[in-house]
């Protein structure tokens, strides 16, 4: 029973301390608008160099769980979603706070987050080992087409157009290709620049694109004084009646979140949108959504938390940007991400699963206990936060190679990340492109060697054909949808134009 052993290990003082720390930091960072789990996990990666791999992964996964939940506090109290996954929580959470029901909104959000975490954890614990076994049967072309699907999927659902998402993903792939070719050792795309010879390491690129670019963006915006609204925390603890009333919605939304989390390339923000929309369409009073409807908060929060564990289900392809960074963390710790983790390092795989459950319990306890101080932390001025964050980034990146050149690389990627954000390009696909390019290239080259240079198995092998067809459907669906909408709009305009004539 490796999972049982993992629980025994997790309940020791050191893992419990790091899980507690991770959840607490995650909640706080998730609550602060502009910061987020991805930023904190990237920031802490260098610190984990010096930690035991199991503890490091437990810390990072706990931050993930905490950060997705923390966003709801500021979403409800301040109308500022701390994380993108809390955007849908704002719609009903803040109106409830304005109506003086902040405590109720928070308690429902925390309860829903907990339910989402538990439901999806059951899937994580039950499905991970068999899915890992199944994924081990994938050949190089199956893995290559799965990577393609992940890239197209994140480009499809990311902010902006599909073409922009794909462009930025390809840019990420280009950045990953600089340096020595993994198969032949030939230097690629260095253009004679010695500093490019080692390629661009994960950490400076990640910290630049996520942390520095966000700081640039925020410094350019005027800092507005933040005031809490609807701050009276009455009716705080959920009752048995709440469980009966909102239980089915929470479970349904958790299932939606889990399966969206499993999909490569799709994260918790999309899970919240889909679950919210589904709940609204099932509701007898859809018109109340957006005005302080409790079911809206339950749907958004249970689904976004559920997507966290769903995304950890090991296909080896990241389900979100944080997953991509977690995969990077595994690589940094010399571990093989994906299904092989269960075979090669079961203590990590099962340790992460056990930590995810404990983190969910701690998240609920910490959130119920510390809503008020956490909401206050979220109003801390950036003049106090950002300088320290920059110094942490500098130290972290410098420690990677004992060289300031990595720090300059981080700054350059920070500026690039900022430019892309300003140009309306989502940075999520960039990171996935950067992380997945080596995997895509390795699998494509292995496949070509295995099948004597033939690409035909891409369409003759059922699983890779399935992934290709799914990719095509995902890529073309937005175009088809736009065409259908345009046609419907033209028809309704035509009808409206015809009406006066008849009268």
């Amino acid at each position: 029973m490796p999972l049982l052993d993992a629980f025994v290990n997790v309940l020791a003082p050191a893992p419990m301390f790091f899980i507690f720390l991770g959840v607490l930091l995650g909640i706080v960072v998730g609550a602060i608008p502009g910061l987020g789990g991805a930023m904190l996990i990237a920031l802490l990666l260098p610190v984990t160099f010096y930690m035991d791999s199991v503890l490091a992964l437990m810390l990072l996964v706990s931050i993930y769980v905490g950060s997705v939940s923390g966003g709801l506090i500021t979403a409800i109290m301040l109308k500022m979603p701390g994380t993108p996954s809390a955007v849908m929580t704002v719609l009903d959470g803040h109106p409830m706070a304005q109506q003086g029901r902040a405590g109720r909104a928070l308690s429902l959000g925390i309860m829903a987050s907990f339910v989402g975490g538990i439901v999806s954890w059951l899937f994580l614990a039950l499905l991970s080992p068999p899915l890992a076994d199944f994924a081990l049967k994938f050949g190089p072309y199956e893995l290559f087409t799965l990577v393609l699907m992940a890239l197209v999927l994140i480009a499809t659902v990311a902010e902006g157009t599909l073409v922009k998402g794909l462009l930025i993903a390809l840019f990420g792939m280009a950045v990953a290709m600089v340096g020595p070719d993994a198969s032949s050792g030939v230097m690629r795309l260095t253009f004679g620049v010695d500093s490019f010879a080692g390629g661009f390491s994960l950490l400076p690129v990640l910290l630049g694109v996520f942390v520095i670019s966000q700081i640039i963006e925020d410094v350019l915006k005027k800092e507005l004084p933040i005031q809490q609204q609807g701050g009276r925390l009455t009716e705080f603890m959920p009752s048995a009646g709440d469980v009966r009333k909102h239980g089915p919605n929470a479970v349904r939304s958790s299932l939606i979140g889990t399966w969206i989390g499993v999909l490569p390339g799709v994260g918790s923000a999309i899970a919240a949108i889909v679950a919210y929309t589904t709940t609204k369409s099932f509701s007898k009073h859809p018109e109340t959504f957006g005005t302080g409807e409790e079911a809206g908060i339950v749907a958004a929060e249970s689904s976004n938390n559920a997507s966290v564990n769903g995304a950890l289900i090991p296909l080896g392809i990241p389900g979100s940007v944080i997953d991509a960074i977690l995969i990077g963390a595994l690589v940094i710790h010399n571990l093989q991400p994906g299904p092989l983790l269960f075979t090669n390092s079961p203590e990590i795989a099962y340790g992460v699963i056990a930590a995810a459950l404990v983190a969910n319990f701690l998240m609920a306890a910490l959130m119920f206990a510390g809503v008020r101080p956490i909401a206050r932390i979220a109003t801390i001025s950036r003049a106090y936060l950002f300088p320290t964050i920059i110094v942490c980034c500098v130290i972290g990146v410098y420690s990677l190679s004992n060289s300031m050149s990595s720090v300059w690389v981080m700054m350059v990627f920070g500026v690039l990340g900022f430019l892309f954000r300003r140009g309306g390009f989502p940075v999520g696909p960039f990171v996935l492109g950067y992380i997945l390019a080596p995997l895509a290239e390795k699998e494509l080259r292995s496949g070509l060697m295995l099948y004597d240079g033939s690409l035909m198995p891409l369409v003759t092998r059922p699983i890779s054909l399935f992934f290709i067809l799914l990719t095509l459907v995902l890529a073309l669906w937005p175009l088809v949808q736009a065409r259908i909408k345009a046609r419907q709009a033209t028809r309704s305009e035509g009808r409206q134009a015809a009406r006066p004539g008849r009268g």
């Binding site: 410094v219 106090y384 130290i395 420690s399 140009g423 290239e441």
Partner: protein, 172 residues
């Protein structure tokens, strides 16, 4: 390229950057040796990614061109004196840009000093944290005091944590 310059300065820069990347990929791939161990070789993926980048860029330009032609009314609006006002004008973005320039300058000075070396990391970091915190604050006495305290505590705490606890060699 008129359609790229109206309200799309940020995107235009990104598209140029992506164009340069696509061209660099193709030029870099052309300079690589022929495949030795596998049919794709080291130049294969860079070449495919380069071509794909250029094709998608062309698609984006076409769609931008179509958008600009399909919305002549919006273009006219954009040409109105109100629309020509820089984004954020009147909303305090001007002073923010000045603040940003100051923040960038302080950060560049800090990184340059670390690169050149010769100064103590702790004291340099203390000065950086204090200067940057002040530049980002509203310069009220209360905030400046807090920034000073944070700078003093964090510079020594970070140095201690990274050097003595985590055994990281810090820039000097």
């Amino acid at each position: 390229m008129n359609f790229l310059t109206k309200d799309r300065g940020g995107e235009a820069i990104c598209l140029l950057l992506l164009l340069a990347t696509g061209v660099a990929l193709l030029v870099g791939a052309a300079a690589l040796p022929e495949p030795m161990f596998d049919p794709l070789g080291p130049a294969g993926l860079p070449r495919y990614v380069g071509y794909l980048l250029l094709v998608l860029l062309a698609l984006r330009l076409v769609s931008l061109f179509r958008e600009s032609r399909a919305a002549p009314a919006a273009e006219a609006d954009a040409a109105s004196p109100e629309a020509r006002r820089p984004a954020g004008a009147g909303t305090g973005e001007g002073p923010q840009r000045l603040r940003f320039a100051l923040v960038a300058l302080i950060t560049l000075a800090y990184l340059t000093a670390l690169t050149v070396g010769g100064l103590s990391f702790t004291w340099l970091t203390l000065a950086f944290l204090a200067a940057l915190g002040a530049a980002m604050s509203d310069l009220s006495a209360r905030k400046l005091i807090i920034v000073g305290v944070i700078a003093a505590v964090m510079s020594f705490a970070l140095t201690y944590t990274f050097t003595d606890v985590l055994s990281v060699v810090l820039p000097e």
